[in-house]
């Protein structure tokens, strides 16, 4: 039994490493080749965990072979348009100038329900609002709304930026731990942070979450049950 447990732990480490090599895209929307690799990796790993007759290398080598091939195929897809079309397919327009392309929907084997479901996920409940809709290679729908239905932007209303910094607030303290890289990103110093904490009569350990932006605007969430000094 201990062997099975240790083999499982080794394979777990290998799969985590393999998925990290494949990159973040893998964890979000799957391209066809990525889906194939994910399915195969999970199956190969299971074989070796269940059957101790199979050498561990018999699972590890195929997993790393698949992941290496996937990385190389990703590079090929990145560099070559033809390879991208063959391996990932190309996006398909199913609503063009407000008209549903029924032939394309048949080709994609999409029903009206599928179309509405995907539109609802985009926050659109009426097909009349859509000017263009594109089915991406990952199978998700991207919709471009008609002018009258598009969300109002600051640019449309000619609202000036008023020197608003072009960066979102970031976490500078996470569960009592000061994140120096985040402070650097905000162009803030540690002295500033400790001064703020001192003013609030807190230490970093008392803070559950602290966010800050480049204008030194911050928000603090204290840890529950923390004692103030």
């Amino acid at each position: 039994m201990a062997t099975v447990v240790l083999r499982t732990i080794v394979l777990y480490g290998c799969i985590i490493f393999a998925l990290r090599i494949m990159g973040k895209r893998q964890l979000g929307e799957l391209q066809p080749s990525e889906l194939v690799v994910t399915l195969l990796v999970s199956n190969i790993a299971t074989l070796s965990i269940e059957d101790t007759n199979i050498p561990l290398l018999g699972s590890i080598l195929p997993i790393f072979t698949l992941v290496s091939c996937e990385v190389l195929v990703s590079l090929l897809i990145l560099k070559s348009n033809n390879a991208r079309k063959i391996l990932s397919g190309s996006p398909r327009i199913i609503i063009r100038n407000g008209t549903i392309d029924q032939k394309e929907m048949k080709n994609l084997r999409w029903s009206i329900d599928d179309l509405y479901e995907q539109m609802r996920q985009n926050g659109i409940f009426d097909v009349n609002e859509v000017d263009f809709a594109i089915v991406e290679t990952s199978g998700s729908l991207s919709a471009y709304q008609k002018f009258g239905y598009r969300p109002v932007t600051a640019q449309m209303l000619n609202i000036p930026a008023n020197g608003e910094p072009d960066a979102p607030p970031v976490t500078v303290i996470s569960d009592g731990e000061v994140l120096k890289d985040a402070l650097k990103f905000c162009n803030l110093r540690e002295e500033w942070l400790y001064k703020i904490l001192q003013e609030k009569n807190l230490t970093a350990h008392d803070v559950f979450l602290m966010t800050a932006d480049r204008r030194a605007q911050y928000h603090i969430v204290e840890k529950k049950g923390s004692k103030k000094h």
Binding site: I21, G23, L57, T65, S68
Partner: protein
């Protein structure tokens, strides 16, 4: 680009591991084959003392080789050979030469099967 280099490095390591396992299995096959031949020749010469010595030699070799082969070959296949080899000393000691010869042939075929299933030949791929 870093990922591509890691992938290429992994593929290179995998190729080395494949080459090593192929070489290891081939070497094990040929050494076992030689040792089986020695047992057969002692059997033909009816030299009982030499026969027992050669069988012991074969057993000792397999005991060592088995440890490294389990990393590349399915354990069930290795176990079959180990079982067959475990019978040899008794056959040699008590003069059961017919069974000894049959078991040696069986070991030879099992090892040949392992060796043949390793290289990426057209038959193995299909």
């Amino acid at each position: 680009m870093k990922r591509v280099y890691i992938a290429l490095a992994m593929l290179a390591l995998i190729a080395i591991a494949c080459f090593y396992s192929l070489r290891k299995v081939n070497r094990a096959y040929y050494t076992l084959e030689d040792k089986i031949e020695l047992v057969y020749s002692a059997l033909d010469q009816n030299d009982r003392q030499q026969l027992e010595k050669n069988v012991d030699d074969l057993c000792a070799y397999w005991k060592d080789e088995e440890r490294s082969l389990v990393h590349f070959v399915r354990h069930a296949q290795i176990d079959e050979i180990t079982k067959s080899i475990a019978r040899l000393p008794s056959f040699a000691k008590y003069g059961d030469y017919a069974d000894l010869s049959a078991e040696l042939n069986c070991i030879r075929l099992q090892m040949e099967n392992i060796r043949d299933s390793e290289p990426p030949t057209w038959n193995n791929l299909l």
